[in-house]
Every structure is written in C-alpha cells, then in structure tokens.
Assembly symmetry: C2
Homo-oligomer: 137 residues x 2
C-alpha cells in the first residue's frame, strides 16, 4: 500500500466521475454517491435540492460544511487500485454563470430538477495505491 501525494491523488480523482460525499447529519455519519468533476484543485458535485446535504448548504448565509469526498478504483478480485479522500469545506456555488458552467460538466443521474452546484475545497488530501507485490493477497 503506497501513499499518494496531493498532486497524484487529485489527478486520479479527476480520472473518474463517481465518488461519495460524506458528511454529518444530525450528529450521524451520512454518505451518498454522486458525480464529480475536478476544477482546479476543487471537487465539484451537484446535489438535488431535496437532498440532505443540499439542505445543510441551502441558507444564503451558510458558511459551508466540512465534508469528506471519496473515490476509488479498486479491482474486487485482485484488490489492486487506488482510493483518494479529500476533506474540506463544501459551499454552494452562488454565482449563476459559474454554476451553469460547472453544471454543464456534471452529468445528471435523474430527470432534470433544481440542483445545487457545490464546490469542495480540499484542505486535507490523502490516498493510497494498492500495488502488486506490496503484499496484497
């Protein structure tokens, strides 16, 4: 198991489109799969207005909430692959033009309905790669 540096971790994150956003909801850990794009160093996701995390971010004066975002590509048979976790503040993209630009890069999973575009600024970035010969079994 080889740790990844920040640059390599964010590069790998940008090679996939599916991850899981992790947050705290009423003091309980919560997690939801979403699509993402990497924009600069930020991870950008879209959330449906009715989703729990969107509710936390909805107030105009919301400072944002700390979330973790995880993506991985691990072969279920060989167990080779990688996983990346970023942790940082998630905030709504409130500028309409920027939101539209980013939303265009993100695919919707379900019928179009009001969404929030949310930017996660990575404070902590960690990750590892599982390689053959590193004792994997």
């Amino acid at each position: 198991m080889r740790p990844l540096d920040r640059t390599e971790a964010l590069r790998l994150l940008g090679t996939v489109s599916l991850g899981r956003v992790v947050f705290t909801q009423q003091a309980l850990p919560a997690v939801r799969p979403v699509n993402h794009v990497v924009d600069g160093e930020d991870v950008v996701v879209r959330l449906h207005d009715g989703s729990a995390l969107a509710g936390l971010l909805a107030p105009a004066d919301a400072d944002g909430v700390v979330v973790a975002y995880e993506a991985d590509e691990i072969d279920p048979v060989t167990h080779l692959g990688w996983s990346v976790v970023v942790t940082g503040f998630a905030r709504r993209v409130t500028d309409a033009r920027e939101a539209a630009r980013l939303a265009g890069r993100l695919r919707s999973w379900v019928a179009p309905d009001p969404v929030q575009v949310v930017r996660i600024r990575p404070d902590l970035v960690s990750g590892f790669r599982l390689e053959r010969g590193a004792g994997s079994s």
Copy 2:
C-alpha cells in the same frame, strides 16, 4: 430512482465485497474503503489495528461507535445501478472463535498483520436503484 426496501438493500450489499465505512474522527467526517461480508443482517469488516476507526473501537469498554457503510454498483457511463447505505453501531468482535470465522470470510488487502473484526448492526438501511427509463440521462 427507485428506493430499495431493507431486504433488497441487504441482499445487494451481499453481492459485492467492497464498500466504504464512514465515521466521525475528531469531529470531522472520515471515510475509508474496506472489504465486507454480510453475516445475517450485519455487515462485517476487518480493520487494521493502526487504522483510525480501529483506534476508536479498541478500548475494551468501548460501547461501539455509530458508522455508516456504503456500497454501490453504478455504471459510470450509463449511470444505472444501485447504492445502499446502512447506519448503525460498529463494535469489535471480541470472541476469538467468532472473529476467526468471520476473518476467514474476509480477504485481506495487504500483508497479514493484526486486525480487528468489526460488526456493524444496521439500524437504518436505505438504498436506491437507478433504472433505465426513470429519467436518467
């Protein structure tokens, strides 16, 4: 997007071996990919002794901690598939024989080293299936 009932959600969870355990570490959301098996209704994972969650569960008097566990199988291109999240108390399996039995069903990703076998008792179970024709784009 069709919601899954508890039975179907746990059945789907049992069809894959990789998921992500989600917990709170020093008031921050944390997430880590692990292997799992479903034992009865419980989700069983193994953690390396050095891992953050193992540290939270290590004290002999630990009551357990609330975690979420997520697994999914979502096609990155068609976006069809499913996701399941269970939330509940995670506790170490302290009975040596039971721990050995469960550990035998769980594959290790890295070279053998001391592990904890941890049982997550699902309190909340939720999930959804993304099906063609449900407005997916």
